[in-house]
């Protein structure tokens, strides 16, 4: 699933540590680590909003997408 999570890039730009962001938005460090590596099934809008508010960015700064025809089939299988 080629949704790319660029959270580590934004953390580096804002010079914010993972631990600090996790505490600020109320998720565990391990969940944040999973999110950074793109190993989560999904992200709640509330979590995304909290990240964007803390890092002063837009969702598009954190998430990117590589087009793939496989994603059309994946949506119908879910």
């Amino acid at each position: 699933m080629p949704v790319i999570v660029n959270l580590d890039v934004m953390l580096a730009r804002r010079k914010v540590r993972s631990k600090e962001l996790a505490e600020a938005i109320g998720i565990t460090e391990s969940n944040l680590s999973l999110l950074k590596s793109g190993k989560v099934k999904g992200v709640r809008f509330s979590t995304l909003a909290a990240i964007c508010r803390y890092l002063d960015c837009q969702p598009g700064d954190i998430l990117a997408y590589d087009a793939s025809d496989d994603d059309l089939r994946a949506a119908s299988e879910d």
Binding site: L32, G42, R44
Partner: protein, 190 residues
């Protein structure tokens, strides 16, 4: 599980000795009896009551290996399903009561498959009841004065409510399992 074992213990003599019963009372203690006429429908039973020779012929008919095996198989099928139901309910309660990973949700997820199996066994038992009663009567009719005959007896007094309850239990277990799966999926969302 102990209840299941006791039930199996009680079912075994019934399979080995058709018409076996154990009656206990304060006055007379426990008395066992083996009367195959109790396995017949009410009408046939009363016809045999006043005819000792017919009762003897019926007992001889039941003693035949093929008939004996057929009656034992039917009893084991019915009682086997009930024993499995007891086992399934016991395992469901044990898993619900046990702690372990995931606390309450984990216990529920582990218990639900057994609840579903128990409900399915109850469903099969309800459907089997009229069939085994009919098959038992057909087997025995050859030993009665009336001779061999077809008998299809569908008494929904017990099987009907049991079937409805079993379907309800199965539907509940199915819905709960779907809910637990959905909750697990959501748990992967951060």
């Amino acid at each position: 599980m102990r209840v299941a074992a006791l039930w199996a213990l009680a079912a075994a003599p019934q399979a080995l000795v058709p018409g076996w019963t154990l009656a206990c009372s304060d006055a007379g203690g426990c008395r066992q009896a083996a009367d195959v006429a109790t396995l017949l429908p009410e009408g046939q039973r009363s016809a045999l009551a006043g005819d000792p020779a017919a009762a003897t012929r019926l007992a001889a008919h039941v003693a035949r290996p093929a008939v004996h095996l057929g009656l034992a198989t039917l009893t084991l099928l019915e009682e086997g399903l009930l024993v499995f139901l007891f086992v399934a309910v016991g395992r469901t309660l044990r898993r619900l009561g046990a702690g372990g990973d995931g606390g309450g949700d984990g216990a529920l997820a582990r218990a639900l498959p057994w609840l579903r199996r128990g409900a399915f066994a109850a469903l099969l038992w309800s459907l089997a009841q009229p069939l085994t009663d009919s098959a038992r009567s057909i087997l025995l009719y050859s030993g009665t004065p009336g001779g061999a005959a077809w008998y299809i007896g569908i008494d929904l007094t017990i099987a009907g409510p049991a079937l409805l309850l079993a379907i309800a239990a199965y539907a509940i277990a199915w819905a709960l399992e779907a809910g637990v799966r959905a909750e697990r999926d959501l748990a992967d969302f951060v």
